[in-house]
Amino acid sequence: METIKLTIDNKAIEVAKGTTILKAAREAGIHIPTLCYLHLHDLNIENKPAGCRICVVEVEGRRNLAPACVTECTEGMVVNTHNIKVLNARKTVLELILSDHPTDCLICAKNGNCELQTMAQEFGIRKLHYEGEQSHYREDTSPAIIRDVDKCIMCRRCEMMCNEVQTVGVLSAVNRGFMSVVAPAFEMNLDHSVCTYCGQCVAVCPTGALTEVDHTNSVIRALADPTKTVVVQTAPAVRAALGEEFGMEAGTLVTGKLAAALRRLGFNYVFDTDFAADLTIMEEGTELLDRLTRHLNGDKNVPLPILTSCCPGWVNFFEHQFPDMMDIPSTARSPQQMFGAIAKTYFAEKIGINRENMVVVSIMPCLAKKYECQRDEFATNGNPDVDFSISTRELAHLIKQSNIDFNALPDEDFDNPLGESTGAAVIFGTTGGVIEAAVRTAYEVHTGKKLAKVDFEELRGMDYIRKATIDFDGLPINIGIAHGLGNARKLLQDIKDGKSEFHAIEIMACPGGCIGGGGQPLHHGDSSVIKARQKAIYVEDAGKTIRKSHENPYIVKLYEEFLGKPLSEKSHHLLHTHYFDKSNETFIE
């Protein structure tokens, strides 16, 4: 490998050719501040428009300052990252950015978690020397995401996420000069766009320009209402990330504390979405086998591959962008919605209350879930199966607001019957997990044999498109996995072009799967956080006594007592859905 020798802050260092000053400095332990730059290394996601100009450094012999994020090291380069010229320039540029930014930090949703605020604090900004006109835009509230564009600093991270990673194409830089900002077409609201509410824009926004719609107050109100029985479900990825909000290391599992906290918040029943994940496997796995068998038997009306459908961002994506392929995904509802449907029927009956008197709250790593639970088809007589969906971040706020000392909580268990789950359900939280869970069940159901080993390493990892062939006792099943909608698009295009050889494909809208969801604690550009969460998920799975969905005793009981069998009429009614062609929705108000 060709290397280059240079000096940064009087420190002689050697780096590989092609290394940027920023990377070289970081390798040498020198921290150069950045704002627009974002590099999710393990996910191969990079944003470096070199627009904020915060990372400028002085390079000897150059007439102006160099942006460290994009300037490559050259032989003999002498770099100074913090002389007075650099510091003045950086501070002035930051003051300029702040001069076009609201200063309502105390009541901003990102207070304490804002990269711009942190930087202002680190730079010791006490006065803005360059005050003037601020750019103003209309605030946009959609079912899941709020755009407060006055707070946009044009870092372009959201634009990159929406276009390059997700290929959804809702956001673009619009206008020019001082009025330029990132917005949907015609600066309309998100709900007039093809937005999937995946929330990846929110996940990377350094400021309060993009945040989730906060439903915590609705939850508090429901908890305070004595006429309501409030049931909570919590998604698998939440337990692998919530601890971060309380200062714990990334990857710390807080399942027990999570259950304890929810109980202390006053939820009447603390359940687990994992239960519904097991149920999903029963339905989706059976559907897979059914479609597979019919297809292999020559029924050309049964298309393959079958695609997972538990990710609401993904569902929104294909409804908008691939309406001609709506017969490909499984009809199984997402675990959140299966849970709601079962809670408000089976469980409500069990405890003898009306669905109107039950409030189902879900804790999700996801913002699209907020939209999903508001879909008309998931309500009975206007009463939604899931009333409110709040993100991992919102739950953390709720716990803090209620002065619960999370770190000191004991570990507690979920309630039964909807709190029992298997290892197969836990891994729903990561890319590759849903399909691995499905394989564990489908294999045993199809072959009638016990799996010797339930860990399918070939389905795991972080590569954005993965392929594996699983031997179903002589029948090779080709499995595809994609996370990130841009990667999903590639697999979908292959199917459209008739080039796909897969029998089943798992798709997660968010890079990394739910652990990297738009509602998770902010990773601030550190992708090792997502990797740590993934590791935690597999640890939780390995520690479970039951690791296959069809062995969950409460699931078995649910079928015995209520549903009959997978794909029964009742199952169809409560646990399956249909999709809508949204490609013709115009953006014109």
Partner: protein, 159 residues
């Protein structure tokens, strides 16, 4: 696509324009120029059609349209008045000419009169610096325009 206000033959014309550029997304700006030629401006519906034909997002098309000052989403007046604000015209008093147009037409720069007759715009250097300050009404160039000559220009078209 629902809610289209474009007439069928104009829609065909627009699609033909896209096709003449092989529906190539790199040709977006050329397509927009032609489209503005057809419609006089670039309403949202037109941008949606172009996005679909060139297989790019509507946001991208709008991002481009809103970037370039030549493109407009507002219909221009029957007689679009453009005042050159190039340096030569500026130092020879173009600002006063703009003020006079604004006063007489009772609109701001970028607006169209309620009767749709006039719209007012500024542009950068038409290259007729010898005639500064310069005013264009449609394609016609008026040179050495003084503020008190503005009313005559307006009168010429106000009939």
């Amino acid at each position: 696509m629902a809610n289209i206000k474009i007439s069928a033959n104009k829609l065909d014309e627009l699609k033909a324009v896209c096709k003449s550029f092989n529906n190539e997304k790199g040709e977006l700006i050329n397509v927009l120029h032609k489209a503005q030629g057809i419609f006089g401006y670039l309403p949202a519906e037109v941008q949606e059609v172009i996005a679909k034909e060139l297989n790019v997002s509507v946001a991208h098309v709008y991002g481009v349209v809103s970037f370039y000052s030549f493109f407009t989403m507002l219909p221009k007046g029957e007689h679009p008045v453009s005042i050159c604000l190039g340096t030569a015209c500026y130092v020879r008093g173009a600002e006063k000419v703009i003020d006079e147009f604004k006063r007489l037409l009772n609109i701001n720069v970028g607006e169209t009169t309620p009767d749709g007759k006039f719209s007012l715009a500024c542009l950068r250097c038409v290259g007729a610096c010898g005639l500064a300050p310069v005013v264009l009404v449609g394609e016609k160039v008026y040179g050495r325009v003084a503020p008190d000559g503005v009313k005559d220009i307006v009168a010429e078209y106000a009939k």
